[in-house]
Symmetry: C2
Subunit: 414 residues, 2 copies
C-alpha cells in the first residue's frame, strides 16, 4: 500500500499526520500532471476540444462526488477548500436568511474553520444592527457533541446546528442521530466532514445534512479544493458566493445594471464564480477512484485497528493522558485519530523529539480557537500531541511509535 504513495515509498519516516493532510497516491499526481502537461485549457469557456473535454471531466468528478456522499450532482459545489465551504454557508445562507434573534448552535472546541465563520457573520450582522446568538454546546468526555446539551439548548429561534462529523482532535464521530425525530425540520444541520471524508462512509441523507463540507487534500486529493454539499431543500435560499465569470449569475440587463440586482444563477454555478481549480478537481476525481478501489469500509476497519493499537499501547505509559475521544469509550471504536499529553514534557517539545526519531505527528492547539494570550489553557486540546493514521500506516509503525513514546515517558518521568 505504501508503494502507491510516492512520498512514502522513498522515505523512512513514519507519517502520522494524515488529519493535517494525507499523502498523495500516484494516480492523483498523474491526474494533476496530465492536466498541466497536456492540452491545458480553461473549463466551461472554450468551444474547442481541449476546453470542452475538461468541462466534461469536471462534471464527471461532480457526479462521482455526488455518488460518494449520496447526493445529486447539483448539490455538489466545488470550493477552494473546506474553510471556504463553511464560509459559503455563513455568507450565502446565513447573511441572506438570519433574522434578529436567530440562534446557531455550535461547539467552541471545534476547528476554527467551523467556529470563526459564525463569529465573523455575527460581527457583520451586528454592524447592521442585526443580532444573532451563537449558542455553544458541550463536548462529552468521549469527545462527542453532547446531544443532551444540544437538545436542552434548542429553541424556537434555533436555525442551524454546526457539528464536526469526525472531530479533528478528539477523533470522535458525531451523527446527531440521538436528535433524529426531535428536531424541527426547519433547523438546518451543517456537518464538517473534513476529517470523516475518506475515513468513514458519508451519506448526507442518513445524516439529515443540509450542508456538509469535504476537504480534498485530507482524502488523498490536493490542497486548494473542497466540496460543499448543499441540499436541494436550501437551494432557493442561497445567495451567490464570490460571484464572477461562469458563476451563472445574470445581471438583469447590461443597460439596467447600474440599478439592478444580480439574479442568482442555477446551482451549483451560483456558488462557483471564476475559474475552477481544474487540477485540484481532477485530483479529487482520481482520489475518489482510489478510495473506491480500496473501499471506505476497509479503510475504516484499518484505522479502527490502528487506533485501538495506539490506545492500548499508550494508555499504560507513565504520565500519559489520553484526551477525550474513543480512548474513553466502553467499546472498541476508533477512526484514526488519538490525542494525548505526557506529563513532564511540553507537547511541542515532545513533537520535536518524536520527529527526530522519525515520527511525524501534529502538536499544539490544532486550530481550535485559542484563548486570549495570558489565560490558562482550559483543556488538553490547547496543547497536545495528535496522532492520525490512514491506510498506508502499518501496525509495525504503531508498535515502534508506542515504544518510542514509552522510552520518552520513562526518561521525562519526574
Amino acid at each position: 500500500m505504501r508503494l502507491l504513495f510516492p512520498a512514502l515509498a522513498e522515505s523512512s519516516e513514519v507519517y502520522l499526520d494524515s488529519a493535517s493532510t494525507t499523502q498523495k497516491p500516484a494516480a492523483v499526481i498523474a491526474a494533476v500532471q496530465g492536466y498541466l502537461g497536456a492540452r491545458t485549457a480553461n473549463s466551461g469557456r472554450g468551444t474547442y476540444s481541449w476546453a470542452t473535454r475538461i468541462t466534461r471531466d469536471i462534471e464527471q468528478v461532480r457526479r462521482r462526488t455526488a455518488v460518494f456522499v449520496g447526493a445529486h450532482p447539483d448539490e455538489i459545489v466545488f470550493m477552494p477548500g473546506a474553510t471556504a465551504g463553511l464560509n459559503a454557508v455563513t455568507l450565502s445562507w446565513g447573511l441572506a436568511n438570519l433574522r434578529d434573534g436567530d440562534e446557531i448552535l455550535y461547539s467552541p472546541r471545534d476547528h476554527a474553520s467551523t467556529v470563526y465563520p459564525w463569529l465573523h457573520l455575527r460581527d457583520i450582522l451586528a454592524r447592521f444592527g442585526r443580532r444573532i446568538r451563537l449558542i455553544p454546546y458541550r463536548i462529552t468526555e468521549l469527545g462527542e457533541a453532547d446531544t443532551d446539551d444540544i437538545a436542552a439548548k434548542l429553541s424556537s429561534r434555533t436555525r442551524l446546528i454546526a457539528v464536526a462529523h469526525l472531530h479533528h482532535v478528539f477523533g470522535a464521530l458525531n451523527t446527531l442521530e440521538e436528535l433524529r425525530g426531535r428536531l424541527d425540520p426547519a433547523v438546518l444541520l451543517c456537518f464538517d466532514c473534513t476529517q470523516s471524508g475518506g475515513h468513514v462512509p458519508i451519506d448526507v441523507a442518513e445524516l439529515g445534512a443540509d450542508f456538509a463540507v469535504l476537504s480534498a487534500h485530507k482524502m488523498f486529493g490536493a490542497p486548494g479544493t473542497g466540496v460543499l454539499y448543499c441540499s436541494r431543500r436550501v437551494h432557493e435560499r442561497l445567495d451567490p458566493f464570490l460571484p464572477g465569470g461562469n458563476s451563472g449569475v445574470e445581471a438583469n440587463s447590461v443597460a439596467d445594471m447600474p440599478d439592478s440586482s444580480l439574479t442568482p444563477g442555477p446551482m451549483p454555478e451560483r456558488l462557483e464564480g471564476g475559474t475552477h481549480n481544474i487540477p485540484g478537481i481532477l485530483a479529487l476525481g482520481a482520489a475518489l477512484d482510489m478510495l473506491g478501489q480500496i473501499g471506505i469500509a476497509a479503510i475504516a476497519e484499518h484505522n479502527r485497528l490502528l487506533t485501538r493499537q495506539l490506545i492500548d499501547g499508550l494508555r499504560p505509559l507513565p504520565g500519559l493522558e489520553l484526551s477525550p475521544g474513543p480512548a474513553h469509550a466502553p467499546c472498541d471504536i476508533g477512526y484514526g485519530t488519538v490525542t494525548f499529553t505526557l506529563r513532564g514534557i511540553d507537547s511541542t517539545d515532545l513533537g520535536f523529539v518524536l520527529a527526530d526519531s522519525g515520527f511525524l505527528v501534529r502538536t499544539g492547539a490544532h486550530c481550535v480557537p485559542r484563548p486570549s494570550p495570558g489565560s490558562v489553557p482550559q483543556s488538553a486540546d490547547d496543547d497536545s500531541v495528535r496522532v492520525s493514521t490512514h491506510i498506508y500506516n502499518t501496525d509495525d509503525e504503531i508498535d515502534r511509535f508506542v515504544r518510542c513514546v514509552g522510552t520518552i515517558a520513562r526518561e521525562v518521568r519526574p
Copy 2:
C-alpha cells in the same frame, strides 16, 4: 520556447487562448509534482521538517511575488483565484467601510469578476438598508477606460475606482495616469491585473493601486491560485476574509466567545484562512522564476509584434471588424489580445471552423456581464472571436491563422 511547454511540444494545434489560461512550463509542473510526490505535508502547522520546509517555501513565494509587483510581502495575499481576490475587496473592505450614499466607479464592460462582486455587495448592503451607488464609466473606441468620463463622474462620495489594467477582450492597457494628481487620495484604486500579469510590468506604486489582483493560471501557474495585493494604507480597514484555521484571527477568549467579536489577525493571514493551495503557490513561484528568466520586457515586445501582425493581417479581410482596442490606436501598441467579428458567420461557428483547422481561440461573450435573454446584443464583445498570444506563439502561427481566417472570410462573404 515551445519545447519548454510540454503540452505544446506534443501537439500540432496552435494555442491562441492564453487570455483564458496559459500553457504550463515544465518547471511549473515539476514544482507541483515535487510537492505532491515527496514529503507532502501541510503548511503553517506541523513542526516537523516536512511541514516547516513548506511553510518556508510559501513565504519565499510571497516575497518573490512582492518583488514582482513592487510591494511588501505583508501586502501579498494568496487567494483561490483572481475572482476570489476581487470578492475579498468587496467583502473585506467594501462591506466594512462603505456608507449610505457612497459611490464606486466601474465599467460594465469589464470582466464579470470585476463587476459582479460590486453588484453583489450592493445587494447585500441594500438588504440592510444601506444604499451604495455603482456609477458606470465609458470605454473609448481604443478599448480603454475613458478617463475623461471617470473624471466627470468623480464626486465627494466616490470611494473606489475599479479598472482592468489590461482589458480581457479589448486588449487595451489602463493605468489611469491621466487622473494622477486629480484624484482625492481618499479614492481607492482597484486594478484587475488578471490579464496584465506576465504580459507587461506591474508596479503597484506606479499605478497608485490600493488593491490589485493577479491570476496565477494566466501567467504560467496553475488554476486555483490568485494574488490579492492590499496596500498597507488600507490594512487597518480590512475585515477578515473567509476566516478559519491559521487565519491569524484571535477570538478574544474561548470562554467569552459566545459574546465576543473576532479580533482581526495580522496581514496577510487575516485574509488567508484555511489550508493554502500549496501546490498552486509553489507553481506560482516556479512561474515567476520562469517569467523572470524570459523577462517581462521580452514577453511584452514579443506580444506587441504578434499583435501588430494580427491586426495588420486581419484588417484588410472582407467583412472583418476589429473590436475596440489597439487596432484603432494611432500608434503601434498591442499586448497580445485581438478581438474581432466576421460578417456572415456567427463567432461561435467561426470558432468551430478555426478549431477544425487547428487554431484554438475563444469565442462568445468572454465573461462580460450578459444582457438579459431576448435583448439585442449591444456591442461586439457580446459575441466575438478573441485571439490571445504569449511567448510560445510564433509569427509563423499568426501567419497561418490570418490566412485561415482569410479563407473563411472569402467563403462566407455574402
